[in-house]
């Protein structure tokens, strides 16, 4: 775990990733923001946050892609580009690995579950909340 000072420096790098996830990012560039060597940044980041900078970046990109797939009418290619990937093939296989289904299948399944266009279905939130706030029981 990082000391308080190191934690602040780490947060600068983490915020940099969060604010620029759509752009091509390099470990050395991010580590530079935190005034650390790439290897040191990688190790302390993983120790502190429980995931590597790349895992964090992928999580942000995939979460954004999921939102865009459900709440907009963007093509998968457009989404791929807007979340920072240049190869549609790489993006699609990454999405499949992370989410368990291909982007188009994810969209089709969630749109079918939702009773309202461009809204997430209640099944994406924990059932106790869906029941309490929306009156919906899990199927």
């Amino acid at each position: 775990m990082a000391t308080s000072y190191k934690f602040e420096r780490l947060n600068i790098g983490r915020d940099y990733i969060a604010n620029n996830y759509q752009a091509p990012l390099s470990l050395s560039g991010i580590a530079k923001c935190s005034y650390m060597s790439p290897y040191h940044f990688l190790r302390v980041f993983k120790d502190t946050y429980g995931e590597t900078p790349n895992e964090f970046l992928i999580r942000l990109r995939v979460e954004q892609a999921k939102k865009m797939l459900i709440t907009g009418d963007f093509s998968v290619s457009e989404i791929c580009e807007q979340v920072g990937y240049t190869s549609l093939g790489s993006f699609s296989s990454l999405f499949l690995r992370q989410v368990g289904v291909a982007p188009t299948v994810y969209r089709r399944k969630l749109w079918a579950l939702s009773g309202e266009a461009y809204r997430f279905p209640s099944q994406v939130i924990p059932a106790c909340y869906a029941y309490n706030f929306l009156g919906k029981l899990a199927n």
Partner: protein, 135 residues
């Protein structure tokens, strides 16, 4: 065996204002911010170093959970400061306290030595109490 707490709820008066407070003043990150069918906003935040524990920022509104009367009572109790948001940990209570005071976060107790560490007590922008603890 239960291994961790994934979500816990903080009732707030206004989600947008609470989001600004938890994100820009306390420095939390946004977990989920999505519209669920029926216009319900599912909004979660978490401290940067603990993405595994998400705080659900929810407004008490008339619906399946609350009657109109109950929702109004809860809102009124939040404003009166009847609820606690929990205990937030920090590596340096005094320093974090000073940073938050500089951001106009209200405190009702400055950092004080306790049996379990150094603790300050603050209020979120809805009126929920929270402890800031250095162990």
């Amino acid at each position: 065996m239960i291994t961790s707490i994934a979500h816990t709820t903080i009732y707030v008066l206004n989600q947008e204002e609470a989001l600004d407070f938890y994100k820009n003043k306390l420095g939390f990150e946004v977990g989920d911010d999505m519209k669920i069918e029926g216009d319900f906003r599912w909004l979660t935040v978490y401290p940067k170093s603990k993405p595994q524990t998400q705080l659900v920022l929810a407004e008490p509104k008339e619906g399946p959970m609350f009657t109109k009367d109950a929702a109004e009572k809860i809102r009124s109790l939040i404003e009166e400061g009847a609820f606690g948001a929990g205990v937030f940990e920090t590596g340096n209570c005094q320093k974090t306290y000073e940073e938050l005071v500089a951001k106009d976060v209200k405190f009702i107790q400055p950092p004080t030595e306790q049996l379990y560490g150094v603790e300050a007590m603050g209020l979120d922008n809805s009126g929920n109490w929270f402890s800031l603890v250095q162990r």
